[in-house]
Symmetry: C2
Subunit: 158 residues, 2 copies
Amino acid sequence: MTHEIGQGPESSSLISTLRERGYRLTPQRQLIVDILESATGHIAPEDVYQQVYRQFPCVNRSTVYRTLDLLEELGLVAHAHLGDGAARYHRTEEAGHLHLVCHECGTMIQIDDLDVAADFLAALRARHGFVGDLTHHAIAGQCRHCAEKNPDSNRQEE
Amino acid sequence: MTHEIGQGPESSSLISTLRERGYRLTPQRQLIVDILESATGHIAPEDVYQQVYRQFPCVNRSTVYRTLDLLEELGLVAHAHLGDGAARYHRTEEAGHLHLVCHECGTMIQIDDLDVAADFLAALRARHGFVGDLTHHAIAGQCRHCAEKNPDSNRQEE
DNA sequence: TTGATTGCAAACCGTTTGCATTAGT
DNA sequence: ACTAATGCAAACGGTTTGCAATCAA
């Protein structure tokens, strides 16, 4: 890497976190963190890479993956699986969402208020000692529209 | 395919379903259906293929995939994503299960009684018109053991 | 006979890996 | 100087595809 990568304004918490844990501060990491910090909501590794690439085509995809892994280890980001292909990353600062994905039309409903799930999660915890996280996998099903149009209860598709 | 593939005892409902819908009854399809019918619980395409292969090595993986797709279209099987790699197929006759997967130790808890989720699903339906199916994706989280050992609420891993 | 179904091989997508080189500390 | 981090290229697992050959109807 010979090109210069300017450091974003918000890297300070990252920098200290990295240093504390003995990791090195590289331009690539700064860039990727900056991108994650300016992104809203969920973003796939490929999207991160595309944004990186626009600025610095020399940065490699695998570095994006490795950096996302690192940031997840450090607790700065987390990923979720929304049913389709790639995982989606988001800053852990941001509140988690529930994702309802219709397996007929593909519509995704995002639910910010996690209270709907509170009793269910409490029951899982009480009965099985399991601390569930419903934000990690999308919830499959039929959206209102498709349920009205096609009210079968047997079908299950992606 | 020159080898003979005997037809299982339970193919009759499939045969009629196929014929009704204008599909052809091939030995490959019979074999795969027989395997699915003698299998208990969830089974990955690769597992199906391995069992097929043991009996008839000439049958191709892609035929397994295509047949699973077809059977799903016909409503005879459904698939679920349990967090790790491959999808798992099961007969739709069999009751659905909830799968709780610990993202720290990998333990999977299977819950046959879907009542735990009933109120939650009812709430989703009432508030968003969404008919959710919690059996399609595993629920991520921490199992009892890991939650006691490592009670952080921030971490999220596969 | 003829179109659905198969086998094959190759491609696909998202991700991971081994290794030599580079560059933070 | 030392070793973590990178770029590269190749592999991975799971799945899908285009096409010519086959075979159930």
